[in-house]
């Protein structure tokens, strides 16, 4: 069996992220300490989620333009993958918060924004589930995907930057911004973003293929 080069790259980078992520020396930042390693999982999973959801949006736009069933399948599978990364991102963030801030969840624009973002995509999944006709489902969910994304996501990106927050990287907290990012951290952080994104694309590709086969059988 031939495996595409980017899948090999993804596999290697995932191993690299996990092994190097736990072993390399990290800078001693007050409060955060060793938990800074969570950056390779939590932060890069959010990056991967944003990539998945944005790809889903682009495919939804393309579906409305082209009307091809394939675009709809890809859009919905990327949204599903984005949800998986979102849930993982919330879990990793929550565990980190428990040991750094002392609580599983605090009221913070970034955390609440993440939760709202998940609610939107859960609603997207339920909307898809409640329309029987396949073409109608594709069109309506594409419209909702674009509408929800464009009214919400820009605000989720802008609002946390306008208010102070406890979250690393804002409000003067030690964090993962350019000034704190140590060279060692960078060496693992950037590859980890690529690793999770490639893994996501790979899973999505498999799911798109099974969905396409199911579609052919029905039709």
């Amino acid at each position: 069996m031939r495996i595409a080069w980017w899948k090999w790259l993804g596999m290697v980078l995932i191993y690299y992220t996990i092994i190097a992520g736990f072993l390399i020396p990290v800078p001693r930042i007050p409060i955060v300490h060793e938990s800074v390693r969570n950056q390779f999982f939590h932060v890069s999973m959010w990056f991967a989620m944003m990539t998945m959801l944005t790809t889903s949006l682009i495919l939804s736009v393309r579906y409305l333009k082209s009307g091809k069933a394939r675009h709809d399948i890809i859009a919905s599978e990327f949204a599903n993958m984005g949800i998986v990364f979102g849930v993982l991102g919330i879990c990793t963030g929550s565990v980190w918060a428990r040991f750094t801030w002392g609580a599983w969840w605090i009221s913070d624009p970034k955390l609440n924004g993440a939760a709202i973002c998940m609610l939107i995509y859960f609603a997207y999944v339920i909307l898809r589930g409640s329309i029987e006709d396949r073409q109608l489902r594709a069109r309506i969910s594409a419209v909702y995907n674009i509408f929800a994304w464009s009214t919400l996501i820009p605000l989720l990106v802008i609002l946390p930057r306008m208010t102070d927050s406890l979250h690393p990287g804002s409000g003067g907290n030690p964090g993962f911004n350019v000034y704190d990012l140590d060279n060692n951290l960078r060496l693992v952080f950037y590859p980890s973003v690529i690793a999770w994104t490639l893994l996501g694309v790979w899973i999505t590709e498999l799911r798109v293929r099974t969905k396409t086969i199911e579609n052919i059988e029905i039709a």
Binding site: L119, L127, S130, I131, L136, I140, V143, T151
Partner: protein, 223 residues
């Protein structure tokens, strides 16, 4: 016919229909009044007054639920044949814009009546009524733009009333937060200039929801 003329005729039609069918309007008003009264009873059963922050949050939660119910009927309870008839008469842009404008007026009216009754039973901490009325009007049109579009989406699916709530609530969160923040300024009464940023934000949100509805609605109805 230009879009503007179509919008004018369609709004006129909405008002005439609503007036002929007054029980729907009365139903929404009764819904609003009984929700407020239940909140009043729930609050005074344990305490005698309510903090301005809670007053503000509770008022907008009541408004949110009333708005969902008021706007839901714009696409959900319409006979499919009648929709088809409208579409032969006017463009999709004119239809969605007229519905949004009509619902904005409806929600502003519901908001003002609700605020009056709410203030009577639960007390009125607002020290800048002018600003509060402005927030109700702007907030009402923001709620109307998002909810009208979502009602169009939900009307195509089964269980549309439940879908209407779950599809719209997360999208409405930034709008509601902004509304509650601005109402907080109206309660504090520190003057109009302090609330200017929030008012501009509200207007911008309204415009963006309106623009997205204008672009996306044509894809919703064509079959």
């Amino acid at each position: 016919m230009t879009v503007l003329a179509e919008v004018r005729h369609l709004i006129r039609k909405e008002i005439i229909l609503e007036w002929r069918n007054r029980h729907a309007l009365n139903g929404i008003l009764l819904y609003l009044v009984s929700t407020i009264f239940i909140c009043y009873l729930a609050v005074i059963s344990r305490q005698h007054n309510i903090s301005p922050g809670t007053w503000n949050a509770l008022f907008w939660i009541i408004m949110l639920f009333s708005a969902v119910n008021a706007v839901a009927k714009s696409f959900i309870q319409v006979a499919p044949g009648r929709m088809l008839y409208y579409y032969t008469l006017a463009g999709p842009e004119a239809i969605i814009i007229s519905k949004i404008l009509y619902n904005s007026v409806l929600l502003a009216a519901i908001g003002l009546i609700g605020a009056l009754f709410y203030g009577i039973v639960l007390g009125n901490p607002v020290s800048d009524p002018g600003l509060f009325i402005l927030v109700i009007i702007l907030g009402g049109s923001g709620l109307a733009s998002v909810l009208t579009m979502v009602s169009g989406i939900a009307s195509k699916a089964s269980h549309s009333t439940m879908l209407m709530a779950i599809l719209s609530f997360p999208v409405l969160v930034p709008l509601l937060l902004l509304i509650i923040k601005t109402t907080g300024h109206a309660i504090d009464g520190l003057g109009f200039p302090i609330a200017f940023d929030e008012l501009a934000g509200l207007a911008a949100l309204n415009l963006s929801a309106l623009a997205m509805s204008w672009i996306l609605f044509p894809y919703l109805w064509k079959n």
